[in-house]
Amino acid sequence: MALPESRNSFSVQQMIQQKKQKKNKLIQTEKIVPFILLLTAIVSVLTTVGIVVTLLAETFTFFNHVSIKEFFTAQKWYPFSETQGSFGILPLISGTLKVAFIAAIVAVPIGIASAVFLSEYATDRTRRIIKPILEVLAGIPTIVYGFFALTFVTPILRDLIPSLEIFNALSPGIVIGIMITPMIASLSEDAMTSVPKSMREGAYALGATKLEVAIKIVIPAAVSGIIASIVLAVSRAIGETMIVAVAGGSTPNLSWDVTGSIQTMTAYIVQVSQGDAGYGTTIYYSIYAVGFTLFIFTLMMNLLAQFISKRFREEY
């Protein structure tokens, strides 16, 4: 074997100089890349702006046909009635909120409890098995959930509550709750896992039990992340369409009753989009007004989430 030469037969500096000439091209790419990246970012911003503008424009047209006062205060939503048509969105809002509320009642306790289990009690192995399963649950198409609600959950509920109608708020509410549980569980678990280990140790060293550490240290420290996950999940429930369209019925109703047929804002938009109304009619424009209201709702939820998580943040 040849001995290594005492000096390199090549000079690294020289090679760098040579490469530098080629590099000039690279430098140009360096300048172009951020510009391309900016463009991609602008695409999504522009899309959002475009959607809002379209919504707004058509909504204004709608308010030429129907007064804002009627829209927000009338208690009936009879858009298809030729003679006594009434466009009061409250029944649709009530349908949406009932379903979202039931979903939250189901999802918040289950989601947070599973997050506590996963982050504080489960061994690494258990977590590695359970978390992917939870995430699969989040990936099931919502139409499947819709049929699950209509053909499986509703019959069971009707055995328990005989007065329950075939289409009702309860069954889709529960199923949407099941659908958003993994979201709360997974995001809350992330928030809890990122609470530093040293904080848990501090509490354990004072003789705290696992439950005391979870409830009095980990949850308060992770509360902003937990609230964000809940709000995100509830926004999802408010915007959920297929499950309520399939299992919720199409009877807008302003009431507290969860056993009867309802219609949510989203389900109404589906109904009209399916071709029940011609272009340019009041009904056609009404879906934009409803869509805009829906948009306001989710926007408010997001603002609320930001406010709450700032307010309750425990900084560490």
Binding site: S198, M199, E201, L206, P220
Partner: protein
């Protein structure tokens, strides 16, 4: 220069310390303790007796098992997965490694201060009140007294008395560490374990914590792990030298630093390795 000073100082105190230590009872008897992390044999046949109302320092190079040992004394080591132990550690006569020994009860008696200050993300008041609260003390008046007493005990009361409701994370590192000591004092433990409590602190904060330890040993038994040999010499009554998971030497601090029995101890304290 420095070591000779320490030696001279210590020799003067030696007789007094010896006489005093004979009157003291042991809090911890460690007998044939072995500990494994998976297959890594981290502690080997540890036999130590630790006295009450003394400061016992544990010194040794990184990875020698000193932190592992101190965390075994309140079983915090169990938070590490895959830990196995054999042998026994008797705390006040009862083997804490035995099945059925309530770990929460143990940690209520044996407090711990960590390497990095780890206050809770709560107010200064809530940090100190947390321990008493989880053990069922709810009376606001009593809690107020406990908080004040503990903060005074940890020599931080004057600095924080006007901002008890502010977040603990607004304090400096040294203040946070003294707050953690106050949090520990709030449940009036019997023993305080300190795992390199000053390694993340500046010299002035370190000095304050050291003075505090001197003060606290009147009422508490303190076991302190330290990287800093001068610190061990300054504040401890007894010193144990750990190396590769074994106790090489354990005796009066003056003895260890002036006249170590083992060559390896001498090499370590004179800075030849570690």
């Amino acid at each position: 220069m420095n070591t000779t000073m320490v030696k001279l100082n210590n020799q003067q105190n030696q007789t007094a310390a010896n006489a005093e230590s004979q009157r003291k009872e042991a809090v911890y008897h460690t007998k044939d303790l072995n500990l494994w992390y998976g297959t890594n044999h981290a502690l080997k046949n540890i036999n130590l007796e630790i006295n009450e109302k003394e400061v016992t320092a544990i010194i040794g190079p990184s990875g020698c098992g000193k932190s592992t040992y101190i965390k075994t004394l309140n079983r915090m080591i169990e938070l590490v997965p895959d830990v196995k132990t054999s042998g026994e550690i008797k705390y006040r006569g009862r083997n804490i490694l035995q099945k059925g020994y309530g770990v929460e009860e143990l940690r209520t008696k044996v407090g711990m201060v960590f390497q990095k200050p780890n206050p809770f993300p709560k107010s200064i008041f809530e940090n100190v009140a947390y321990g008493p609260k989880i053990h069922g003390i709810k009376d606001k008046k009593i809690l107020n007294q406990i908080v004040e007493k503990s903060l005074k005990g940890a020599a931080i009361w004057d600095e924080v008395k006007d901002r008890l409701n502010e977040n603990a994370f607004g304090l400096s590192g040294g203040q946070q560490q003294r707050l953690c000591i106050a949090r520990c004092l709030a449940i009036e433990p019997d023993v305080i374990l300190m795992d390199e409590p000053t390694s993340a602190l500046d010299p002035i904060s370190t000095l304050k914590v050291e003075e505090l330890v001197q003060e606290l040993k009147k009422e508490y038994s303190i076991i302190i792990v330290t990287h800093n040999m001068q610190q061990a010499a300054r504040i401890s009554d007894k010193t144990a030298f750990f190396l590769n998971g074994e106790v090489i030497e354990y005796s009066e601090t003056d003895q260890i630093f002036s006249n170590p029995a083992d060559q390896r101890t001498e090499d370590y304290i004179t800075g030849r390795f570690g």
